[in-house]
Amino acid sequence: MRYTAEFRNPEVAQKLLESIRAAVAGYAGTMTLMEVCGTHTMAIYQHGIRSLLPESIRLISGPGCPVCVTPVDYVDHAVALARRPGTIIATFGDMVRVPGSSSSLLHEKARGADVRVVYSPLDAVALAQKNAEQAVVFLGVGFETTAPTIAGSIIEAKRRGVGNYFVLGAHKTIPGPMAILADDPELKVDGYLCPAHVSAIIGAEAYEPLARDHQVPCVVTGFEPLDMLQGVAMLARQVVAGEAKVEIQYSRIVKREGNAKARAILYEVFEPCDARWRGIGVIPGSGLGIREAYAAFDAARQLPVVVEKPREHQGCLCGEILKGKVTPKECPLFRTACTPEKPVGACMVSSEGTCAAEYKYGT
């Protein structure tokens, strides 16, 4: 038993598809189900799930890729820090190739900047200990799954007395944009497949206001193929019955109350702040800023740099794609001016981006 292969059984998948077809048999019209998790985006393409579902179910991807929703001025800020003498940039791999207004971290690396890809923010803390003369800046991008790990790294740096570890934070919380998109009349979201790992931290309870106040059914879903099909079946049944409840498909990991210990670590270091989302704009309280008590670890406060004026790329539809209003194929740049080798927008760069997934697995 490893709790992976068991959730990929093709015979069970067929049965679950039967149950989905049965659930929507009498349903007139098309229901729009949105997922907001980069791993779901990838899994849907990887397993060809869209092509298996009945025509009355439309599965769309929302703002679930943290790198993609991060606005261009953050990349510009990271580029400016990479140019700062005596600075090492440490980051998850996805950020390196994201285009800024006029450069990228990859471009800066080629020009001699010290940019390192790490697996964990704790690796960046160790890097700071090994390079005591330099400032190590970790790029803190991610939702509620990643934010506690960054908070944990700051707490650990403090414990070890590491004074040259900094975080340039752009963390975001997902329920805010879900509420905004739920009310978007153009989009008409009938149900949410709620993220797997984010929900492990925030708990299924976090979606109760969404279900109650916006009347959108929510199912917290894992991302093995059987998880996703079962999640779709549960959501489709709610839509057909006109219900708006929060259910958990991914019960082996996600609890109603989430992980309180991880949240305590998160909110020890971070506090809610307003945040700007690519494509959506500023959402009050949807970001996480470093608290005053941990200001010594905040790259934005401690390492002032001049950041160029942000400039979005002409013709790039990332913003609309992140809201689920446009599919990658509808973007004029897709596969022509914008490819994984030469990306124009973040959605083509990140391994969790909708355009990258469509490019890799789409037909």
């Binding site: 490893r2 059984n9 679950l16 996600v254 992980n259 210990k261």
Partner: protein, 70 residues
Amino acid sequence: MQVVSIDNETAVCEIDGVRREASLMMVDGVGVGDFVLIHAGFAIEKLDEADAQETLRLFRELLDQGVVPE
């Protein structure tokens, strides 16, 4: 991944022969043999084996009886 050893707050975890260290700062009561969900070097949740078995039981029922579980 499955926990193979624990030293203070750090666990060594394994899947398919790949081993990784993970901080246990965010989870309580993890022991050797437990399955944990790892994100960026931290165990962020312990897998609930009883719940996993329950989901798998529903899947088996689906196969055996051809009945859609509610």
